[in-house]
Symmetry: D2
């Protein structure tokens, strides 16, 4: 095991640890740890809601999920000698649930969760069709996950960090706040919101205190969106063995990460859509001096995925185009096309006995492929979603004999705000 440089005690809250991480992006959050180029180290990661979601059969916790508190990030890790203009090499050597802890109240202790946020608190990709909150608990057995809330399915997780990135420079942060503020201003009362402005309430900023804390908390960017620094990209393919190249914007690069996922479908469509967990990650870091210019990588990560993602060879696939459920033709809208493809998949799975929300939770969490199949055939985009058939313990492709009926069991817990 590489040296553990960022430990977390599962019995304590994220802001009560020996080393305190952060949940906002800002260049002035001091490094929590400094490592040399070429270093290999381990860090613990807290699940993104810091224990607010429980291993039970109620979705009340998802309904009231404290969105201002996310994401619990481990870091920043400063890398000696990294300078703006460099590329930071990050090798994801290993990652997984909380080591040595197979049970307990914290996601990552042998279990994880997938949630559907209520439209009034977070929303999601299909929030118009699923305005209430739902939850599924997943039990881990080695690399596989099963859920008492979604019977008949079992799969090998595609484990990855949902969020990883370098610290923004001050000008870059200013750009973020400016452009996102402008978007919010176009419809400031929208539910769910268009974007999330800086929010001091709930901010955790490492070792900062006092006025500096207050200043930074007022300026710091929220961690929900991916941006130029990487961040919450939710790329399911950042599996073990992946090498990522991040642009460096501040001296030391100041790498942070978290939001570990035991598994996730492309898009993380329920928003809380992966199998969320805390755990550990082993990283190796190095630097390509001047790499941003050399390779033309000025923003967003580039990466070489690992080669041990779970292999599936048969898929049942669904397509969608950019026409709304109400029949309105949109112009080359791949998000809409992907929504329609996902809704088609949900419709299909309900014929096998699942509730729509069970199917939705499944699409968000299983190793599902989501492809931009056609993006130029005016006016319709075509998006496709692929579910591995082997995850079901019954035949799931169409046949002359009609669909097998699965017993949906207790179903996915539901909670809603009083109407």
């Amino acid at each position: 095991m590489p040296e553990l440089l960022f430990p977390l005690d599962s019995a304590k809250k994220f802001n009560e640890q020996q080393i305190i991480g952060h949940n906002r992006w800002h260049p002035d959050i001091p490094p929590a740890v400094t490592v040399k180029r070429g270093a290999t180290f381990r860090a613990h990661c807290r699940e993104w809601f810091d224990g607010a979601i429980h291993n039970d059969d109620s979705a009340g916790d998802i309904l009231n999920a404290p969105l201002q508190n996310v994401h619990c990030l481990s870091g920043p890790f400063a890398v000696d000698g990294a300078e703006p203009g460099d590329l930071l090499i990050v090798d994801i050597l290993d990652l997984g649930p909380i080591p040595q802890e197979d049970s307990g109240p914290l996601a990552g202790q042998g279990w994880g969760y997938t949630g559907i946020f209520a439209k009034l608190n977070g929303g999601g990709f299909l929030t118009d069709q699923f305005p209430d909150a739902y939850k599924a608990i997943w039990d881990f057995a080695g690399q596989t996950a099963t859920s008492r809330h979604i019977p008949g399915v079992k799969y090998t997780g595609i484990v990855h960090p949902g969020l990883m990135g370098t610290a923004p420079s001050a000008p870059l942060l200013a750009t973020w706040n400016s452009r996102e503020g402008a978007l919010i201003a176009t419809d400031p009362n929208r539910v769910p919101p268009l974007a999330l402005p800086p929010e001091p309430d709930g901010a955790i900023l490492g070792s900062l205190t006092g006025d500096e804390f207050n200043r930074v908390a007022a300026e710091a960017a929220r961690t929900a969106p991916p941006r130029e620094n990487g961040g919450n990209q939710d790329i399911k393919n950042l599996t073990k063995g992946t090498r990522v190249f991040y642009p460096v914007f501040v001296p030391g690069a100041n790498l942070s990460f978290g939001d570990l996922h035991f598994s996730q479908g492309d898009g993380e469509i329920t928003f809380c859509g992966a199998i969320e967990m805390g755990g550990f990650i082993d990283l190796h870091v190095d630097v390509i001096k001047g790499g941003m210019q050399t390779y033309g990588v000025y923003e967003n990560a580039i990466f070489v995925p690992g080669n041990t993602a779970p292999q599936y060879s048969e898929w049942i696939a669904f397509s969608g185009t950019s026409v709304t459920l109400d029949g309105e033709q949109k112009y080359l809208d791949s998000d809409l096309a992907y929504q329609r493809a996902c809704l088609h998949a949900i419709d299909y799975l309900t014929k096998f006995g699942y509730s729509p929300e069970q199917a939705y939770l499944l699409l968000g969490s299983a190793p599902v492929e989501g492809r931009l199949s056609g993006v130029v055939d005016i006016p319709n985009s075509c998006a496709t979603v692929y579910i591995p058939t082997a995850i079901f313990d019954f035949p799931v492709t169409p046949s002359a004999s009609g669909p097998h009926r699965v017993d949906p069991g207790m179903g996915a817990p539901r909670a809603s705000f009083a109407g």
Copy 2:
């Protein structure tokens, strides 16, 4: 070889053949061929522009591509006993370039093409960055393609039909015309257009003649977009061995297909972006009676992809988010995110010596994966594009020694409308 039910003579134009296909969607185009349930048959397919694009080093043909003439479709094939409400099973048994013809003036005779349409005639995914026309010619050697216009790259094609679908019913056609007309009406003079209305000029309608031809030509839908019937989905994963399930809207189903691609990246981003070719396709058809209701498949295809697509195990991947090149923040726009990811890939490849248009043509035609990685992390979508590294004959991942420089050769031919 299955019985050839739809032959094409490479020496003749598409509308001078023994059996004449069509290039518009309409329920009243009579079946060209009728087959029984369970039938296996071969059909020839003409490349989508019916020979207008040449194997030469000029992009003038792409510049002036006759868009009103596309797509040359083989069919309709009526399937005995198929009724509205059924699902039509289509097994793609085999497909490939024009058999027994290894050279000649017609795409599919041992070669194919990828084009970038000019903004003033068609446009494409990155038309603002690439407003002119470009072309690359690909030579086939078995399953692999190489191009004199893009040196240093060679890949196994992911062969598939770009377009396949059943005939719309009259009400469905009316819905298409209505909703697309409404979209066009929002900006009728846009260049490129938002959508393409019915266009009698250039229409080919099988055996129809006279007044019936004129009526249908005035009503029939263009073939560019994918729609409820499948159509031009450009799903690269419809490879050999794939089983597709199409909804049936008219008696006999009236299946048509064409637009064969020797290879294509997800999105077919240059619009003329696959490696376009004519060729053959062997199909097996059957019917699931009442399948639309049984499986909840009322529109768009569902499918089980084949298992012999080319295997690659190492990829160089790029990510993008929904911020415009001008810095404007858009809300969860995966098309924009994918554009940015593709532009990042192009920027990167230019560091290795390619021209931007060579890189763009490569992304459109190689077996490239395009994923909707994050679609909920407000306000930024995250899209990712993955290029197999093995297609390059030089190392293409970042290293301390910097990028290898490829000799770009003659480059991709270019043509533009006089300014």
Copy 3:
């Protein structure tokens, strides 16, 4: 299609064609065709028994298979400028059943066969357990095969040439005859024989006639075994896209090939164990001058397999060790270990309703992996055999509910010599 340089008329016997191939190895068989370095061409291949095996429900043809007539080889192809000491590059661009002929009496016309040779005429890997002759006929649909003699199974073939090689030099041929003769001499009356000596009866030697024919027929090596020149290696992984490097022993290299297989399991265990067919093959050839010395390849082929073999991700696997069925301990005998693994697989499949010979025929013909798992753990080798579970249309892994029972149908036709 590349230029067809070696045509075969399906209505004529192999030795009545326009160009006559051969069925023995000898340096003095004249080239049938001469091509330049860099040439791409097509050749037809006759199934190995030249039509002696029929598409029917009797195994009498297998029982009496004319072993002295095999293998019908296309060639020799001389490559201009190839000299002894060079490596001949052979790219397998494409191959498949007889083009344009979907039905007929010749294997490759839409169908193929797998046989179990009788112990008294050929034998096979498990000939002690299966002393009689059996046959299974396979019907092709695109890339997939099914058999009326083995219900419940369907698979994507792993298409390859069973036999390909360069001509031996005179000294090399003398070496073969010497060493194989010495082996035969140790037990000259063994049934089945230890090896096959030169056999003028049935010899086909291209354009040779008269005394020269007689001389060569008396000296020429049989084609059954693989040898230094490649030959009948039966490597299932020589799929489309494979590049093979053969040592060159005579001027022109004199490449020959045939014995096309629609599919085969590792080992081709029933001897006539692949799905045998005639068909076509498209090749590209080139030369690495002095390559034998440069790369240390003095014998046997080296190769880079293609990347479109059928993909399966779930397997049911069986192991065996080098102990005989009678309980005798053998020393590190991987052939015995593989026999035992195959017998275990057969025992297992019979619990699902198959007859032992159906299971045996399946193992020989499906895309089955056979691995030398342990070869050093004295005294037991460990060999393993892996069957893809997706080829069965029922669940084939063990479960608490016990094995599904398949209806074995008519079974595999059987024939035996009168006792």
Copy 4:
């Protein structure tokens, strides 16, 4: 983490632990742990030589490896309710090097080793060509391994237990001793030996003591060979996620395991040929009552491999036939054919600058495929060996420009008995 039921302290010898395992097979070795059906648990495993091999640049430890001490096995684990005639289900949930220990003197503490045994002490697959002892040390970084003794190569390990099995019954043990004794008796002084008889010296037998220890030590079978109970099968495909089914011969099944491998090529050809390490393994066990009869599995394991083995898509492959280096023709000897294929691979790699022993060590330890390609083409078997090209940091396939030369560095340490 599942409950740790079999802990090992890295600072203590295997026979000084809190729970003592065993290194012989015998029905009367008492269970070390008893678990219920359905249990999930963790066990530590000691590397097979209990620390005798060091992380240094001398091969003296390999030369004098104490073969009478192997293999250190964790167990026996009795499973409540398992009875002879049942099948024991073992799910390999996870496994890896020693957790939390990244450095130290014990293989598994961040490193592992591959050895070539000297002919006078162990031997190996190519012992006639490599009569001396050699060693390579591998450093682990997450899932990948590199070696200072074999530069230019890096690969993702295919992690698996080399040895796992159930206890033999008394009659089964007697059978083993009888048949192996008979083999030894045919050449009792052979070097290396044909098989290993019971050997009290070095025996570790769990909690047994006194006379019972002495009796069992005199009868117990050595652990080197795989047998009916599974045992040292060295199947590289028993990766994470694998489900194995073992026959049960004694009440409780008495499962034991060890000999963890970070990686291994098919055959484990150098005998000490995997990357050897200690570590942990997480298992889930269950029982199919009466499963041996139900599924016809009376001996040897059957299994369903996991789906996260490292993926490689390009291979350089070598073939061999059953002719000795001296030119003697052997009859269908796949071990010889595989030796020749491996020797061809070694010859080839030496052209790139490696020493023969570096190449041999590489073949034994990398995720190399070894297939029984042809086993019926009398008199020659054809075996093939496939090396993934991506493990080399230089191009390794043949080209017109000749082989790249790698700097072999210090090479593999060597040691030999004084001549």
